[in-house]
Point group: C2
Chain length 354, copies 2
């Protein structure tokens, strides 16, 4: 594919913005030369950074704006007073057709609110969700929602399941991904009403998806299923608990290996394997979560990432564009939800304890 | 302390019961000779196992019953038809004063329901919670609830905070433990109503506790606070996600180290450090969670543990008995809750967004 892809970038969003953003674009240009960037933000700050990043300079067009959404802004504040912010204008560029994807490392709540207002949700979807892939003992899996929706009803969870199914099919190239709902036990009687109802719908509906049933927290790392469905509160805490545990374990691995001369020597001899191990769990490799369920590709980068991490978020967006993800998900959602579940869903017809 | 402590044991609960139970008692006897056990279960099965475990045989008195609660029984079924089960009789022994603690590796929901019915909750506590300690990058922390209560209101969370505070003070020997509520962000506007209200109560009440505020999933491993408070749904998923991530990481560490001859040699040289690393994260070391908030010490062992893990659960119970935990928590709860929060709590007087 040699067509030029245009990606819009929120140049001011993120803890270390805009340095890591320009650095990330520079790295992304090295990987992928056919992408052009609309870079939204303060040109007085952005231009000097582009001047020292030659590939980024060539690929970027600055769209000047002084307004920014801060990391602490409430979503409502951002919606009201951020109409000319770098985040909002970058999203608008996708809506207007100037760009095929938007990438931001800014305030998640604000990005979610703005993207939903500007791009609108897809037919059959009430709320977008944050989705990304994770390493497991088998192949990668995808999990959603990772923090967009604090409270979810059964209908939301069923929609997440369907979107996750499509995402795993195209993003991970799995022919028929298996779907599990995250719960505190695998028996049908466990959990809250939302997960029980959602499981019942997925079991009893005509949806042509491979529903595994309930999974527990340790099934994420085991790779028991390809798609893990949960509400945004639990999903965000599971994601960050996994990140924190990975940091904890590598912290102690290093501490014990550095604890004696003999183990230091062993570590030096095994360095190449330890480097591969570290690289495999580098969270930057997995940076770039999609806000799935919108009319447009919107990628959220971790706010605290660096240039390498941001370049991965850009590449995640570009990959979704190349796979024409938003067109395929529209068709698939139509086939999956609209044709198989009559609106409105009558959840009272479905037993919570099948 | 040389007084004999009597512990009652559910001899039939757990995936690998009763083999791992008798094995666990044998190991515990090696650590601690001043404990006597009331062992509830089928004597035809238990006696032959005791015959090959001499220390356990000497320390145990079998209390015969044929009834068992299975791992799949609903709590309501267990309550109704499990009145002569090994689990129920073991709990009764604490109620009757025959034992100072009960340890079971059986069905969590059934144990929770039976222990609550038999032992009753402490004054000022509506629901017991499952609490245990975790390794962090600093000292251990404690987290609750780990699965006893699927849905929790603000009042439950405040009570968990106070119980966690007392538990950390006595169990981890921390003079004034800091308390955090698990949430999807640290800002006051994040999260669901329960966590926002609970935070507001802890901030605005007269409770003499050190309330840190909200913490995120990665703060568990970082050791940001000493006590992490959450509902049982989120807590159970966070606990198991951490366990699954630890398994995932050690799986890949082994895989990469075994990937080449040179790294195998490095691993052999560093073996002592790698063994210490593995031992540090051995989940059996942390086995034995307390059902806190009841009139009696009740310890839940992981259902799938082995003899070593079960011996740790016994030791956790014995430690709580030696610290006279149930007396101190009664006094502390009285000082903390009864004297500082007038009943009933008027949550409407407390702003959700302080």
């Amino acid at each position: 594919m040699t067509d030029v892809i245009t990606v819009s970038i929120d140049g001011m969003g993120g803890d270390n913005a805009p340095d890591m953003i320009i650095g990330g674009i520079e790295l992304a240009c090295k990987q992928e030369s056919s992408v052009r960037y609309l870079l939204f933000g303060d040109e007085k700050i952005l231009q000097p950074l582009l001047d020292v990043n030659p590939l980024a300079k060539k690929a970027c067009e600055i769209r000047h704006t002084k307004d920014v959404v801060t990391m602490d802004d409430k979503p409502t504040t951002a919606l009201r007073s951020g109409k000319n912010s770098s985040m909002r204008l970058a999203i608008n560029a996708v809506k207007n057709g100037e760009a095929l994807a938007v990438v931001s490392a800014g305030n998640t709540g604000a990005l979610m609110a703005m993207a939903t207002i500007v791009l609108k949700t897809l037919q059959g979807i009430n709320r977008p969700a944050i989705v990304t892939s994770f390493p497991t003992q088998k192949d990668d899996c995808v999990m959603l929602d990772l923090g967009a929706n604090i409270e979810c009803d059964a209908e939301n969870l069923v929609q997440f399941a369907v979107m996750g199914e499509v995402f795993a099919r195209y993003e991970l190239d799995i022919e028929q991904p298996s779907i599990g709902i995250l719960n505190v036990g695998v028996e049908g009687l466990k959990g809250n009403d939302s997960v029980k109802k959602a499981a019942s719908i997925l079991q009893n509906s005509n949806l042509p998806v491979k529903f595994f049933g309930f999974v527990e927290g340790d099934d994420i790392g085991k790779g028991t299923v390809d798609v893990i469905v949960t509400d945004g509160f639990t999903g965000n805490i599971a994601l960050k608990t996994a990140e924190g545990t990975a940091q904890l374990i590598t912290f102690f691995l290093k501490k014990f290996l550095m604890g004696s001369l003999i183990s230091k020597i062993g570590a030096i001899i095994a360095r190449s394997a330890l480097d591969k191990f570290r690289a495999h769990f580098d969270p930057r490799r997995y940076n770039g979560a999609m806000l799935v369920g919108l009319n447009g590709i919107c990628v959220k980068s971790h706010g605290g990432t660096d240039a390498l991490g941001f370049s991965h978020a850009i590449q995640a967006g570009v990959k979704l564009v190349k796979k024409d993800f938003n067109e395929v998900i529209k068709q698939d959602l139509d086939n999956l939800i609209v044709k198989n579940i009559e609106e409105p869903l009558d959840y009272n017809q479905v037993s919570a304890n099948p």
